[in-house]
């Protein structure tokens, strides 16, 4: 078993430069595990555990989402993986160095006293790049995300969508192989949200970045993911359902909704979620 794993690991390594090939294997047993969460329980302070017995896996090049009722501890799982919050029990195993993990938050809090470019450059500098080189690279990333000309603006001079793109550039500049996203685009209006999400989707598919996404939006979850996990209501929430999404990539956020499996699966997830929420209301 161990030997077989090692063999696969080497293959995955070779394939890493070619996103397409990697993407073709996404979710298959051949792809290497980027993060594996086993029997995780988490709590804040002395309160009852928010989640308990949560296990999940994200493989190289795979997009996995977490949906569920409010307060079911979706974000908590991301916090455990990122190391922001220590687990009560269970464990989180990373198949990649922690420095190759990026976290995109719900809000777009950037350092208000740093320009957009220096905000993007921050992570690069923390990885040992000289200020000049980090700034140059940051400017390149900003251009790639449609932020050319805004390099020297301060966060308060940017729109919500622009700030979100800066936050995205900040994370993507570190070339993460695992991206943790906590409702990253919830605060944006529909059109901006669609555009940023599509850009991100293209990027993730091209680069073969593994993603663990927390969202309230079931359609978004299905449109982006290879696997959708439904959490039961909290406290002591666990993963109650797991739905594979069989829609080929590359995907288009609008087009994907026309796929024959889209509506039936959405209805199924919606029904299961409604049951969870109704139980919570009792």
């Amino acid at each position: 078993m161990n030997n077989m794993m090692k063999g696969n690991l080497a293959v995955a390594h070779e394939a890493f430069d070619d996103g397409r090939e990697l993407r073709a294997r996404a979710g298959s047993k051949n792809a290497r595990t980027v993060v594996s969460v086993r029997d995780l329980a988490m709590r804040y302070g002395k309160a009852e555990p928010v989640i308990e017995g949560v296990s999940l896996e994200v493989r190289e090049g795979e997009v996995v989402s977490l949906v569920g009722p409010s307060g079911s501890g979706k974000s908590t799982i991301l916090r455990a993986i990122s190391g922001l919050h220590a687990p009560l029990s269970g464990n989180v195993e990373l198949g990649i160095p922690a420095t190759e993990m990026g976290f995109l938050f719900q809000d777009d809090a950037l350092l208000p006293w740093r320009t957009a470019r220096d905000n993007v450059a921050l992570g690069l500098r923390l990885r040992g790049k000289a200020v000049g080189a980090a700034r140059e690279e940051a400017a390149d990333w900003m251009a790639r995300l449609g932020l050319k000309g805004l390099e020297l603006r301060y966060p308060r001079q940017l729109s919500g969508g622009q700030r979100k793109r800066v936050a995205l550039a900040q994370v993507l500049a570190l070339k993460p192989r695992l991206l943790l996203m906590d409702e990253p685009f919830a605060s944006l209006d529909a059109i901006v949200r669609h555009r940023v999400t599509q850009d991100l989707l293209d990027w993730v598919e091209r680069e073969g970045i593994a993603v663990l996404l927390v969202t309230h939006d079931l359609e978004e979850a299905q449109a982006l993911s290879d696997v959708v996990n439904l959490l039961s209501r909290g406290p002591r929430a666990r993963i109650s359902h797991r739905y594979p999404v069989e829609i080929p990539r590359p995907r288009d956020l609008i087009g994907v909704r026309g796929h024959p499996t889209f509506a039936p699966l959405l209805q199924r997830i919606w029904k299961d979620l409604s049951i969870e929420v109704e139980e919570a209301a009792d």
Partner: protein, 253 residues
């Protein structure tokens, strides 16, 4: 004329002019006693005399030095103690109660004690000014650090930042912003401390002159001195505002 009156400052200047002219007219008509409220012309004359013989300068310099020294040391001390208390729990256990007490009392009551300790010279005035400013800044920094935006801390941590990075990228800039936000209040406090210290016991300074004017029932000189102090505080307010805008350019950009 009506266009001019659309401007707030024009209306304010007009109101001030009306007040001064009526004051002057009523005073000359004998309807207001010059003993209590000498007419603006008398105050202007007192102001002119203070500057004409140049005697005012040594007093101005004395008060300004005390206020600025108190401000500088108060900022420094308040920031260091606030930082220390926020970062090291046992330090907070000792300092916080003292600061709460100092914050609760009118701190100028310490002036007589400081005069006994440090004499009637500059030292005691700096001390009063310093204690007024330091307590203000302590709370700005102490509560500021504890309430630093947790999202920024998490952001920097997930980008790979450790303690030193957090200090440099999040805490120090936040604290600078809070200190500068309190700078104008601190300038006012610094002047209060210096003048009150001089008022209690001294041989020069605007507070000393005020005390002298009051003891001789010279209302014109008293008001003239109040005008001078207001003028200087306003100038320092303006400077503090400029410093704030320069250092916090990201907030005003």
């Amino acid at each position: 004329m009506s266009a001019l009156f659309d401007k707030t400052w024009a209306r304010q200047a007009f109101a001030l002019a009306v007040l001064l002219i009526s004051w002057e007219v009523l005073g000359r008509a004998g309807l207001i006693s010059p003993f209590y409220a000498p007419p603006p012309s008398a105050i202007a004359l007192a102001l002119y005399e203070l500057f004409a013989d140049g005697s005012i300068w040594q007093h101005l310099i004395a008060t300004l030095s005390a206020a600025l020294a108190g401000l500088a040391f108060g900022l420094l001390l308040g920031a260091v103690l606030g930082f220390g208390a926020a970062m090291v729990r046992p330090v907070a256990d000792i300092i916080e109660p003292v600061m709460i007490l100092l914050n609760a009392i009118p701190r100028v009551i310490l002036a007589p004690l400081f005069i006994i300790w440090f004499g009637i010279g500059l030292g005691s005035k700096v001390a009063v000014s310093l204690v007024l400013v330091a307590v203000l800044i302590f709370f700005a920094v102490y509560s500021g650090i504890r309430e630093v935006d947790a999202r920024l801390v998490e952001r920097v941590r997930t980008l790979g930042g450790g303690r030193m990075t957090l200090l440099r990228e999040v805490y120090v800039p936040s604290v600078t912003a809070w200190i500068l936000g309190n700078l104008k209040v601190a300038v006012g406090f610094a002047f209060t401390g210096a003048v009150v210290g001089e008022f209690v016991a001294s041989s020069r300074g605007l507070g000393y002159l005020l005390s002298f004017a009051q003891s001789t029932y010279n209302a014109a000189l008293t008001i003239a001195l109040i005008v001078i102090i207001m003028g200087f505080v306003l100038i320092l307010f303006g400077l503090a505002g400029r410093v704030e805008r320069r250092l916090l350019h990201w907030r005003y950009a």
